[in-house]
Every structure is written in C-alpha cells, then in structure tokens.
C-alpha cells in the first residue's frame, strides 16, 4: 500500500530509467547506472508481499500462549504438533490428493482439447461456421459465473458428474473461451508452409496437428498449463457448489469447512493454511522464472 502515496514521484522516477535503451544496459555488463534508490523502494514494496507470508509461517510454528501482541515476533519455542493436528483434522492427504488429481486432470484435458479446437478454428477462419464458433466461444468471456452457478449444480447432479471428474470437465469447458483466444492468436503466427510440407509427406490433418502443430505450441501450452493449474488448484466456489461427496473436498474447501473446528485454535489453523499453500508455493519457487515468463508470453499478442 505504501506505493500509493508517492505514486506520482515513483512513476516519474522510473520513467527516467526506462528512458535508456535496453541494449546499452546489456553492454554495460548490467551493472552500470543501477538506480539504487529505486531498488530500495522496490525492495520495501516487496515486503508487503513477504510480511503476510512470514506471519503465516511464524504463527503456524507457535504454541497458543505465544499468540498475543502483534504476532510478528519469532516463536520462542516451536510446536511441530500444529502440523500433525491440522493434518488429521482436515484430512490433509485426502484433500491434497483430490486437489492434485483435479488439477492434473484439468491441465491435461485442457491442453489436449483446447489447442485442437483452436487449431481447427484458426485454420478455417475464412469459413462462416468456424468464424461463428470463434465468436460464440469468445462471447462466453463476458458471462459471469453466478448466472451459471445455480443451474449447473442441478445439471451436474442430474448427469451424475457432481464429482472430481465433473470438475475436470467443467474447468476444461469454462477455460475454453480464454484459451482459444490466445491459442488462435499464436497459431496464426505459425507459417502454414510447415503444415503443407507434412501434408506432402502424406500426413493426415490429425497427424499434422499431433506431429507439427502441437509441438510448435509448446510455449503457449506452458502458458495455458500454468494458468489452468493455478486456477484449478486454488478455486473455491466451483468445488463448493458442485462436489456433493464430502470425501471429495479440495484443499481450499477443507479450510472453509474446518473453520468451525479450528475454533480459536489459531496456531493449528495457520499450520493448516500453510500446508494448503505450500505445495504450489514450492513448485513456484523451483520453477519461478519459467512460470513468470510463461505468463508474460501469454499476454504479448
């Protein structure tokens, strides 16, 4: 929040630095003309991100009697049992497995199907049917979830897909609009000559997609995969309304359901939050550069 007050000065300040061409920066060896004031300012801003995370970790490690005060103090003695308690209370392994299965399923199915649909649309945009289809799918971006929420619960219950499998299907379908949008833009930039060469060698349309197009889509697949993964892993509302079997609950859903049972037992609650946040956080820390550049790629059209 601190950026807000000195925002204008900040913007003006940074524009000066943006003024120098990037090429020269590289020739300087990346070290000349570093703006240390700005670096310090950015570092201070980054604390707004890190402090709540620090708070979550220290609270999860404390004994209940250490709570009090501001809560930012380091724990004097560590209570590892918080994690064991939370593990049992929320049935953590079950929720983790459910979330992982739903996420992996949604990512795999999304990548396999959405890219295929986008390919067919992109290569036939001159035909009325495909163009109409493209805008039909895109229009869904403007449809808010709450209007679908009540009827889709009835429908999934009726079809017997109020299960993790149904959720995988729903993520694949509801992600289609946006994914087609970025896939089509990318496929349009792939030279059609590559496909023609494969066709000359006798490849079918399926073969062309599988052997030529899909591998070339790798960067966009990474982008779509990351976005779908984060969405399916953290989503709360869709599992809340769709899943009918309590044993199918996902990690965020487990946190919601067990709020009452944490009671005022905040240290166990925080241990539970930390365990729910940790898996994706760890993956992110390992693949940080890849994730960020993947998301950036998706936004440059």
């Amino acid at each position: 929040m601190s950026t807000l007050t000195n925002n204008e000065a900040f913007v003006a300040d940074t524009a000066v630095d943006a003024a120098r061409p990037r090429r020269r920066r590289r020739l300087d060896g990346g070290n000349g003309g570093i703006n240390w004031w700005l670096t310090a300012l950015i570092a201070v801003c980054s604390l707004t991100v890190l402090i709540p995370l620090y708070f979550t970790v220290v609270t999860a490690l404390k004994t209940p009697d250490q709570l009090g005060g501001t809560g930012f103090e380091l724990p004097t003695s560590i209570r590892w049992e918080n994690f064991a308690d939370a593990y049992q209370l929320t049935n953590f392994p079950r929720a983790l497995l459910n979330t992982a299965l739903i996420t992996v399923g949604a990512v795999v199915l999304t990548l396999a199907t959405n890219s295929l649909v986008a390919y067919a649309i992109a290569r036939n945009m001159h035909k009325k049917f495909f163009k109409g289809l493209y805008f039909y799918f895109l229009a869904a971006i403007f449809v808010p979830f709450p209007i679908i929420m009540l009827p889709v619960v009835k429908e999934t219950a009726l079809l017997g897909i109020d299960t993790p499998v149904g959720l995988i299907l729903l993520y694949t379908v509801y992600g289609l609009s946006f994914n087609i949008f970025i896939f089509v833009a990318y496929i349009n930039s792939i030279p059609i000559e590559l496909e023609e060469a494969a066709r000359m060698d006798g490849a079918s349309t399926w073969g062309v997609f599988r052997k030529v197009i899909f591998p070339l889509l790798a960067p966009m697949n990474a982008t779509v995969g990351i976005l779908t993964c984060v969405w399916a892993w953290n989503d709360f509302l869709l599992p809340l309304v769709v899943l009918s079997d309590p044993s199918a609950q996902t990690l965020p859903l487990a946190q919601f359901i067990f709020q009452g049972q944490f009671n005022t037992n905040y240290t166990v609650a925080f241990a539970s939050y930390l365990m729910a946040l940790a898996p994706l956080l760890v993956v992110y820390m390992i693949a940080q550069k890849w994730v960020v550049s993947g998301v950036m790629r998706g936004s440059v059209k």
């Binding site: 913007v11 003024a19 120098r20 991100v49 295929l116 679908i148 984060v230 919601f256």
Partner: protein, 314 residues
Amino acid sequence: MTTTADRATTPVGTTPPPTTPPRAKSRFSRTPRTFYWMVVPALVIFFGLHTVPVISGMFFSLTNYAGYGTWDLVGLSNYVNLFQDSRVLSSYAFTFGFAIVSTILVNVIALAIALGLNARIKFKTAFRGVFFIPYILAILIIGYVFNYLFANSFPAIFTSLGFDGLSGNILADPNFAWIGIVIVTVWQAAAFNVILYLAGLQTIPGELYEAAGIDGASSWRQFRSITFPLIGAYFTINMVLSFKSFLQVFDQIVALTNGGPGTSTESIAMVIYRGGFQGGEYGYQMANAVVYLIVIILVSFIQLRFLQRREASI
C-alpha cells in the same frame, strides 16, 4: 476485447489473405471433415455445460421455483421485486463500489511496480518473482490469514503506535469492513497485473525514449506521451478484465466478513449463492443473475468504447 479479437483473426502474414478464398478452400478441401470432428464435440459439450445452464437459468427467472418441488410461471414479477429488494440493491451498491475502487488501485499500483521492475534496478528477476507470489496463492486462505491480521495484529500495532482511532477490528465495522476486503483483493490481484504490464512495457522500443530525451522531454512527459499510450491496449484489457472479475467477488468475502457485519459487505455473487442454495429463492435469484449478466455486458462494452479511444500503436 473487440480490437484484440480482430487482431487475432487478422491473418498474420502467412495465413491466406481473405481476398483469395478459393485458394484457401482448395488447400483444405481434401480433409474438411476432420476439422469438423475437431470442433463439434467441443461445441456440444460447451453448449451443454455453459449455454444450457444460462438458458435454463433465464427460463427459471420467470418462475417461482424454490430449487425443489413444483413451480409456476410468474412472468416478470421476480424482476419487479428485485428493484424493491433493499438487500439486492445494497449488494449492487457494495459490489460496484468495491469493484471500482479495487480496479483503480490494482491498476495504478501494478503499473507503478511494473515501471519500477522495468527500470535499471538490481535483482530484477528476484523481485519480479516475489511480486508474482500472491497470484499462486488461494485467495480464500489469504483471506483467513488477513482476517487474523485485521482482528488481532493491526489493532495491536496501531495501539502501540498511539493511533487509538484504529485500534478496532476494521472488519467488524459496517462502514469500513469493505476497505479490508479491498486491501486483500489488491494484495492478490496486483501480482498478475504487474506481469501483464511488464510484458507490455517490454514491447516499447528504447529508441523512442532516446528521441524524446534528445528533444528534452521530461520523464513525466515521456510517461504521458510515450509509455502510457503505447501500453494502452494492456491498460484497456487489464481495466476491463479486472473490473469484470471484481464484480464477481466471492472467496475473499467468505474468508474475511462472510457478508457482515449485518449484510454490509454482501456481494452480488454472495446474494445469489445464499438465496439460491439456502434461501429457496432459485427463480428469484436467477432473475438477479440475469440482471447481473446484462449489467456486466453493458459495463464491459462501455469500458471498451471509452478506453479504446486512448490507445495508440507504433
């Protein structure tokens, strides 16, 4: 959305230009059926799981269906009642106020941070990685963490600093609870927007700033005349998409206030959820959802119209 959609459909160099459809047609005439096989199953499933719920919802908005049992057609009476329902009206007021404030704050803060990250600073990649962290965290759980911070830690800090006016739990105050929700929302949503703006900033050639520098343009002037117009498309998309997603706010409110105190922070999505699932107001809340759909479409188009005038391209 229209410009970017147009851009996406415009053939990029290698795709057949629209003036030569016969050539393009002959190219695919051997296997047109395969292309239909690729899209028709998706079309059927999409229609079944997306369009059918929307249509059935619109139909039930004309009934008195409770979510179970029998129902009768009641015409537009649900819609008439909506505009006299103070709980629904206050949820629209809250949701719009929240979404406007959050959209502006998120975009201003994210753009400022992106400019900083694009400048000549040390540890660029590391900072970029840190600012992106909130995006990968579940906002529901973040909400629970902040709930504790607002209730216990912040009051303790403000009290020890001597600001007695801020010593209460902001979430327990009907007039200010929304600020707590905005803070958590901005904390999380800024992460993604920083990355989008950063991607936009990196498309601007440095030569433009060099030329402007030679002409003696001040840095603020350079931002106003070069940077901002050239990331205009990003600004438009970010404003429209973040406003749209904030209008659907749900998770963080569940974690922070659960709509309270009273119903002061109940969002539209929350009213639809509660009324539809727990209140036996299926038909009535579907009418609410239809109005909400129309409002979102109208707002998105007005925003696009208004914002696209400002865009420029190289």
